[in-house]
Symmetry: C2
Subunit: 341 residues, 2 copies
């Protein structure tokens, strides 16, 4: 085996298209500054089900079915769906998808799941192995709080740097087509561990992962932040976003003019009491699908880096004194298939 | 979008090779009938660590490092590693891989994880996006029992159809090369749900998923069981294996002459009190890497279907009265790159 240059930054020669997308959000998310952009706002936090876990599965199922209708695609036409979520054993995805009959590939990237699923779907189509490959993810405030921190009825006080898990989902379909948005490149995240042990400070934990992935992509492609209309992180929130800009600046990259964070965008802390911002797989997934993809399709945004971040947080390992490893996967979305950025 | 034939059965035109593999097993697994085939048998069930979760992360790290040495590959040469496991938030993989600096893609397929990781790695290499892509998974008896059923110190009596989670791990490296074993085709599993709610009867829950995937591959490739030297399931155990043969026979396929189940192979119930057999991600992963891959490399086995099965089991959802959805992913491994089987 010869030495080689690692191919963790991968440019996609066939630039697959995103054929369809959908977003569904909960009531609080609908009342926030991004409420205008989601396809559906569901006022019932139980989504007609009895438990939070069943509610999130229902949310994911509805989002995929809405995405399929937007992509004008039947379940029988989908080669595979990449799905995952935060709930133990990824049940929102597996229980949400179990009756659709679509070949299923389970993934786990915590809040980076949308980027991981979109990245893998794009590689499947670009490599010629699939024609239509979907990705879906979700999060639900009540289920996530119970699992990762405290049950809501415990009434624990939230710290200033805590984030608010969004009740939301997003789904996309990647395929061979000749219309934007196109996927031009991806960067697979490396696990970083800044040795943070506080499950209420995930933004700070995740920022180094985002910086690592974004800077690796910029360096490998010889591009600068000015080449992009937006460099979007998943859910760093206020604390993590500041840290990302600092880390990038220390490496000679000024992201301040183009950086957007879905966690910061999702809520208005002055009226919604969400502290450092939104979080959860569904936060960046729903804002990607509700806000950014339509803007790229319309040409209002020409080039965008979507770098969702995940805190690979485990309550049991936290209780054992472990730190929180984090990861960020990146997808380069574009209005055009090539040429200058 | 035109109607199409779904591509969930994918033949790999470039037939990537498995460049290296490794297996590490625990003491009980080493004392069983497969003990002769593992690279390492570790007598310390804590793997030198303080908790079961840390032990399993250490097991996974050691297995990847051993696999890299077998593949004569440095961490810097690996484009990505697909990793997953049974423990909540996939911590065995994320904590095990966090210091290796290899781009990481988290997957969740319960005990089908080895097949899912091998399948995805093979597609990455076959599609030309990566040169070296690894997969790893593991399970640990003590951590899994505590999480999914009862802590060991509770002393719960095991049912006759219960299986024994293997303490074991396996890892493979897929790359471009011209030596066997080759990956010739894959089949992505659909989630099946036979409405079983008993977390101690996973073999019966998983058998329909295995039957669905294996029969879809045979039908799509116009092959019969006689074309393969072995059709290997992950960990159906005694109960699930019988059910698989029955389900296949009902559809006109006699698998009895070639079917092997890693769960049945792993332990000797007459002396090891393991009831229906072994289970866990590491069961099929370690037997694939310890036993089957060397035989394919040596030409003793010409064609093999590896169909690992996963029970997408969630203790919380079981407590909510939910059933256990299951999945099986398949990889066709071969001594040759083409021609007649």
């Amino acid at each position: 085996m010869n030495p080689q240059t690692r191919k963790d930054v991968i440019l996609l020669p066939n630039t697959p298209s995103i054929l369809g997308w959908a977003s569904i959000a909960g009531k609080k998310e609908g009342q926030g500054p991004m409420g205008f952009c989601f396809d559906v706002i569901e006022p019932d936090s139980h989504f007609g089900k009895e438990t939070w876990e069943q509610a999130e599965s229902e949310l994911q199922r509805r989002t995929v079915e809405l995405m399929l209708s937007h992509a004008r695609c039947t379940t029988a036409q989908v080669d595979a769906v990449f799905g995952g979520d935060l709930i133990n054993q990824c049940t929102s995805a597996t229980f949400g998808m179990r009756h659709l009959g679509i070949p299923f590939l389970g993934i786990y990237g915590a809040c980076s799941t949308m980027a991981e699923g979109l990245l893998l779907s794009s590689l499947m189509v670009d490599g010629g192995h699939m024609q239509h490959c979907a990705a879906v993810t979700s999060s639900h405030f009540s289920g996530a709080e119970r699992q990762f921190r405290f049950p809501l009825s415990y009434g624990g006080q939230r710290t200033p740097n805590a984030q608010w898990t969004a009740t939301a989902a997003g789904s996309v379909m990647v395929g061979e087509c000749s219309r934007p948005p196109y996927v031009r490149g991806v960067c697979i995240g490396c696990i970083t561990d800044p040795a943070i042990t506080d499950a209420n400070n995930m933004g700070a934990a995740m920022a180094p992962a985002a910086a690592d992935t974004i800077l690796r992509y910029l360096m490998a492609t010889h591009t600068s932040p000015a080449d992009y209309d937006a460099i979007v992180t998943g859910d760093l929130g206020v604390v993590g976003s500041d840290l990302l800009l600092t880390l990038a600046a220390q490496n000679g990259y000024d992201l301040s003019a183009v950086h957007r964070d879905c966690g910061v965008m999702m809520f208005d802390n002055t009226t919604q009491d969400t502290h450092a911002g939104g979080s959860g797989c569904g936060c960046s997934a729903s804002i990607l699908c509700g806000y950014f993809l339509p803007k790229i399709a319309a040409g209002e945004i020409k080039n965008l880096l979507f770098a969702a971040t995940g805190a690979l947080l485990s309550p049991m390992l936290c209780q054992q004194g472990e730190t929180i490893p984090c990861i960020s996967h990146l997808v380069h979305l574009s209005f055009t298939t090539g040429g200058t950025l």
